[in-house]
């Protein structure tokens, strides 16, 4: 039987993998992909709680908003990446350490 727990676990896994992607990727676009994964994991949680909890609508509306914002954020993020690429000719996040020490 598929219950809430299963969805939560899936969400958790997605979140974790997204986290790992963000933490380990050198490519800035890859990091952004990780961020999308994180958001998706959270979305799964929202919708699952909506379904198995009292307020189904709220959960889904929230998920919608998340998608919305994810898209906006992806756009901006990628614009930034492009800007960096134009300046530094690289999108290696490890190279963007002008703020070190």
């Amino acid at each position: 039987m598929i219950s809430l727990v299963h969805f939560l676990v899936v969400g958790g896994l997605l979140f974790t993998l997204g986290l790992v992607t963000v933490a380990t990727r050198r490519n800035a676009v890859g990091v952004l992909m990780g961020v999308e994964l994180i958001l998706n994991g959270a979305n799964v949680n929202f919708v699952a709680f909506g379904r198995y909890g009292p307020a189904a609508t709220t959960g889904q509306v929230f998920a919608l908003f998340v998608i919305l914002l994810a898209a906006a954020e992806a756009a901006v993020g990628l614009a930034i990446v492009l800007a960096i690429f134009q300046t530094a000719r690289t999108i290696d996040v490890r190279q963007a350490d002008l703020l070190r020490e």
């Binding site: 963000v22 933490a23 070190r100």
Partner: protein
């Protein structure tokens, strides 16, 4: 065993003393003169000339003489038993019930000494004006001379034995300063040191005797004293009175106590005489006196003929009451005196330095004086002291005149024929020689014959407690031989110096050859190139005065067998030398006494004729022949029987070796210990420094370094990379989760 020799002392009763507060000026005036010249003399001499110096020096001496004359006249106005002036200036030390005062006292004996010291002292100061005329350190000379006079007067006028010792040391100091006056010459400086060191050995005996006497006295009063006795004292007047009083038990106690198996009083007398041996140059401590001729000739006259060397005789005479109680001590004194008289006379035979002849003659004459006080003829010893002062001073100053005329030549072999060019010197020298030889008319005869006669009649002498009745006559015989010798060598010196033809170098620098005691470079100036001339008036006048004194002093001691009553000096000194009455001289008929006087004259004549035969006019070659014949003996005697060499081997070298050993010990052991302590301190210091540098500073620096390194490491956190920060945030979040579970 000690005899009961106290008869006559009981006759004394404590006596009235006349206070005379001006007495202190007698020693004080020369002291002020010395201080004046020491402080200001150099500057005054540079500015105002030598006159400024000697006016002060001679002035204070004359003033002191004047005060002495005043004291003398005061004394004449008193009854003989009441002739005691005292002046207590200040209490120096009190150790109940003992008091040591700075106080002066004059009794007839002291008065005689003071007149001799101030009178002859003044004359010699006047002589020095001419003699030291070319000396640059003129002011220093007079300062020292005044210092000596002050010390000698302190010694003679002191009323207690402690102050006498103070004066004793003072004259020793002045003697050292004056002998080594030309200290830049090593030999002269060494002569000064020798005098001081030998004196010191004597002083050790003096102090030992003094301390034992004091111990004896304190003991005497400790055991049942008579009521009214004053307790232990060092004041010789009180001492004499205490001993004289019957019932104090002091005299008996002093004779009864034995120390180390010897009668204690005898020991005291002998030890005090050891001091006198040092100061008065008796065998075996005589060695300094010939070397003391390195000083200027007036110094030799004043100190080493007339005054300082007689301090020993004065001491024995002053303590006559102690010696009279101890025949052992008297025997010892007389024996040493007699041996010295002979010993020194033999050396005088072969000396070629005129001052050395006079020096050994002084030693010999001092021996005579000690014979006198040793056998118990205290006044005779004192009389010989006075006469000797006159004629010996005249002889020394005469030799000084001759030396100066011969351009500081002291070797008699280079003199001769001076009688023609220096008549005054010649005649005064002759008179003095006549006196010392012991011919009548000149005073030496009277004093010497008195001593010889008393020696002959003294049958009460003992040695170490054993009665030796023949000691007196034996000493007489020895002294007779010595008197013959005295006459011989004194006339020898006269003939060699004043008769014949002049053998010295004229105008050249031959006189600068080394001989005798050598010269200080200060004394060598280019005299003119003339031959010898008579000395200036300041010098010749003094010579005449002294020679006259030598003659006139006869009247002080005209013998009783001639006049029928006591000689003037004996009468004068009687209140002081009370013990003289109690000495048991054997009575002999007067005829024998006159016969002995004739023997004395005969001995003198024999000496004179011998000298005349060998040395007059420089004709005879016998002296050279005799010297060649007995060359070994001659050189042995010439070197004063090699006593100096003996002392050097036995005393000086071991002392120097000991000193070196101790110095090495000090340098190695003691300095080593000190250095080790210092090294420990240094080590601890270095340790502290290391601790401070490494541990303490390390700690401080460590804190800083840790901070810096931590900072250096911690800054790595800020990598500028997002992912690192992400890890950090996640780590923190997980930590929070963990804590949530841990914290209950």
């Amino acid at each position: 065993m000690e005899h009961e020799a106290v008869h006559g002392l009981e006759a004394l009763a404590p006596i009235v003393a006349t206070p005379a507060a001006w007495l202190r000026w007698v020693p004080l005036l020369p002291l002020l003169g010395a201080m004046w010249n020491a402080a200001l003399g150099k500057r005054l001499q540079a500015r105002l000339g030598k006159r400024a110096v000697h006016v002060v020096a001679v002035g204070v001496m004359t003033a002191a003489f004047a005060v002495a004359v005043v004291a003398f006249s005061t004394m004449l106005g008193l009854e003989p038993e009441a002739r005691f002036l005292e002046d207590s200036v200040w209490t120096a030390a009190v150790a109940d019930p003992l008091r040591i005062d700075l106080g002066f006292a004059l009794d007839p004996l002291g008065m005689a000494m003071v007149l001799v010291v101030t009178g002859i002292g003044t004359l010699i100061h006047v002589f020095s004006i001419g003699y030291m005329h070319e000396e640059p350190a003129y002011w220093r000379y007079f300062a020292y001379l005044n210092l000596f006079a002050a010390a000698m007067l302190t010694l003679v006028m002191a009323d207690n034995l402690a102050l006498i010792f103070f004066g004793w040391e003072g004259v020793g100091l002045a003697s050292y300063l004056l002998i080594g006056f030309w200290w830049r010459d090593r030999d002269k400086a060494a002569a000064g040191m020798k005098a001081f060191v030998v004196n010191r050995i004597g002083d050790f005996g003096f102090l030992a005797g003094l301390l034992i006497l004091f111990w004896l006295l304190a003991g005497a009063w400790g055991t049942g004293t008579a009521p009214g006795s004053a307790g232990p004292t060092l004041n010789w007047r009180e001492l004499r009175d205490q001993i004289a009083l019957p019932g104090t038990g002091v005299a008996e106690h002093l004779q009864a106590v034995r120390l180390l198996g010897l009668p204690a009083l005898g020991l005291v007398g002998m030890l005090l005489f050891v001091g006198a041996m040092g100061k008065s140059a008796q065998l075996p401590l005589h060695v300094w006196l010939p070397d003391a001729m390195a000083g200027p000739t007036p110094v030799s006259a004043l100190i080493h003929a007339a005054t300082m060397v007689t301090a020993g005789v004065y001491l024995v005479a002053r303590l006559d009451f102690v010696y009279a109680l101890s025949p052992t001590a008297m025997g010892w004194v007389a024996l040493v005196g007699g041996l010295t008289a002979c010993f020194a006379a033999t050396i005088g035979f072969v000396q070629t330095d005129i001052k050395k002849v006079l020096a050994y003659s002084t030693v010999s004459q001092l021996g005579f004086m000690f014979v006198g006080v040793g056998v118990g003829a205290f006044w005779a010893g004192a009389y010989h002291l006075v006469t000797h002062a006159f004629f010996k001073a005249a002889l020394f100053l005469g030799s000084g005149s001759v030396i100066m005329a011969c351009h500081h030549e002291q070797d008699m072999r280079r003199m001769g024929g001076l009688g023609k060019v220096m008549p005054v010197t010649r005649w005064t020298y002759l008179v003095a020689t006549w006196a010392i030889a012991g011919f009548p008319v000149a005073s030496g005869f009277y004093s010497k014959d008195e001593i010889l006669w008393k020696a002959f009649t003294a049958r009460h002498l003992e040695l170490m407690g054993v009665p030796v009745p023949w000691l007196g006559p034996a000493i007489w015989a020895a002294c007779l031989v010595a008197a013959t010798g005295t006459s011989f060598y004194m006339f020898r010196s006269y003939y060699m110096t004043f008769t014949g033809s002049y053998r010295g170098a004229v105008g050249g620098h031959g006189e600068h050859d080394a001989h005798g005691s050598g010269h200080g470079s200060a004394e060598d100036h280019g005299h003119g190139h003339q031959g010898p001339r008579e000395s200036p008036l300041s010098m010749t006048a003094v010579l005449v005065a002294l020679a006259a004194g030598a003659v006139l002093a006869s009247f002080l001691g005209l013998p009783a067998v001639w006049t029928g009553h006591e000689p003037a000096l004996e009468r004068w000194l009687a209140p002081s030398l009370t013990a003289g009455h109690s000495v048991p001289f054997t009575e002999f008929p007067h005829a024998l006494e006159i016969a002995f006087q004739g023997l004395g004259v005969l001995a003198a004549t024999v000496g004179w004729l011998g000298a005349r035969a060998l040395y007059a006019e420089g004709r005879s070659h016998a002296p050279e022949a005799l010297k060649a014949r007995f060359a070994g003996a001659w050189s042995f005697v010439n070197q004063a029987w090699r006593v100096d060499a003996l002392y050097d081997r036995v005393v000086v070298r071991p002392s120097v070796a000991l000193a070196r050993g101790l110095s090495r010990f000090d340098g190695v052991v003691i300095d080593g210990a000190v250095n080790a302590a210092g090294a420990i301190g240094r080590f601890l210091g270095r340790l502290d420094a290391a601790i401070d540098a490494h541990v303490v500073d390390g700690l401080v620096d460590g804190v800083a370094t840790v901070t810096r390194r931590a900072g250096g490491q911690l800054r790595r956190l800020q990598t500028g990379r997002i992912q690192t920060y992400l890890y950090g945030a996640l780590g923190g979040a997980l930590l929070v989760v963990l804590l949530d579970f841990l914290v209950p």
